[in-house]
Amino acid sequence: MRRMIVLELALMICAISAVMPPSAIADSTTKRCGKTGRCYVIAKKEPRPSTPARRTGDLSPGSRADRQNAADESRVKEANKKFSAALAVYDRRLASYNRCLQTFDPSLNKTGCGSAPTPPDVPRLSSATFSGRGNQPTPTAGQAAAIAVARLQLPSIPPGIGPSPDINPWNMAAVGYPLWLWADGTTNVGPISDSVAGLSVSLEAEVSSLAFRMGDGNTVRCAGSGHPWTAAVQPGTKSPSCGYSYAKPSLPGRTYTVTAVANWAVTWTSNGQSGVINVPAVDTTELPVGELQVLVR
């Protein structure tokens, strides 16, 4: 009798633990606590309902509606194919664009690709490609994310250079003087939600790397997004994270074009999947650099 009770209990525990209760996933009031001791309540992401399976068994040949459905399906398949092909072209162009940016330096007129690189156009999901009956091409989560990221229009990162040449009487930076470099703009975007062909995509972007082409042939790679220079900085102090001193003047007659090349790491989540897409951003500024002569008597 005692054995029976133990066995029954074991079976009950086993049944509970071996088979997942479908609704036991944490809800919106779930407490999530981290190493700081702080707890968070994060809005629940509802799982996207799976697309109902096509009921091919319901098709009865000869019916006008069924023929229409079949035609729609064929058009959707064709649209999906075209869209995938367009996306593949876009991916190749984006990769080419990224490669160009690796060597792009407008001040040296070196583009690495023969001309100034321009980002490719995003393939569009034209309504003309759809049947108009609610049957739309269904991109994969990764494809939807690529489109949503391209639509995001991430801001460029203007190069921050301090102290600014505008605040000294000569209106120029000086050879040998330690300049501070930083990302002079937002380095976080999102979270943002977008919808691509009915597929919801959540995006969040963060600058993951930053480099400055100084215009004299040298490149400075920064750890993080750099520290902004302020008037409180002692003269001659080097930036703790990202700085540069010019060895030669650009003046007279010209300026150095300083190019900030940033990489946005965009994390996407869609339909239970997630990934990271890297998007480069380029911005430039002109910097006159001269020599300060000191007379010693």
Binding site: L11, S17, K31, G34, R38, E206, G272, S274
Partner: protein
């Protein structure tokens, strides 16, 4: 004698448990036919048991990899969605982890020490999803600000039982959600030492 009897019952329960699990969780394979062969005392791992074991191991590995990355980033005071984070976490858990890291970063803090995982207990299993309960102990983790001053929160419990949901995503495993149960000590909980 009584002990031996209980041991037999436990073996019976385990065998029954596995039978139940396979009955509930798998497509029916061809029904086994009665065999004259005596039942083995130590049955070999069945296909479903093997699948479950591999899933649990992979899920725990993803969780531990994610914790290691959390430790690394909190020590550097950064909050970056690295491949290490996104390959081992998704959905609510990824959002939560990034929020924790951002809070540390935005406070200008850096962590010293790492979270101790006292144990990981196995919970429910179904195809493509497992539950784990992890005992996390953050009592050895301290925080310093930019000036090196100790700013470790003194109040509140930093020892948790973390009930994790881990999903298989494209062949890999990612922690997708967590429910935290702050506990003063982890004695008596499944994952406790």
């Amino acid at each position: 004698m009584a002990l031996r009897g209980r041991g037999f019952v436990s073996v019976g329960a385990v065998v029954a448990c596995c039978a139940l699990a396979s009955a509930c969780s798998l497509d029916q394979s061809p029904a086994s036919t009665p065999s004259p062969t005596p039942v083995a005392i130590t049955p070999a791992e069945s296909q479903i048991e093997r699948q479950m074991r591999l899933d649990y191991e992979a899920a725990e590995e993803a969780y531990r990899a994610n914790m290691a990355e959390q430790d690394r980033q909190s020590q550097l005071g950064i909050a970056v969605k690295t491949e290490e984070l996104t390959s081992s976490a998704s959905d609510n858990y990824l959002v939560f982890v990034l929020q924790v890291l951002r809070d540390i970063r935005d406070s200008g803090w850096r962590a010293r020490g790492t979270t101790t995982i006292r144990g990981v207990a196995r919970g429910g299993w179904k195809e493509g999803q497992v539950r784990l309960s992890a005992c996390e102990d953050n009592s050895a983790v301290t925080f310093v600000d930019k000036d090196g001053k100790d700013v470790t929160p003194k109040n509140g419990v930093r020892t948790y039982v973390q009930d994790l949901t881990v999903n298989r995503v494209r062949g890999g495993w990612k922690v997708s959600d967590v429910e935290s149960r702050p506990v003063k000590n982890q004695e008596g909980v499944p994952c406790g030492a």
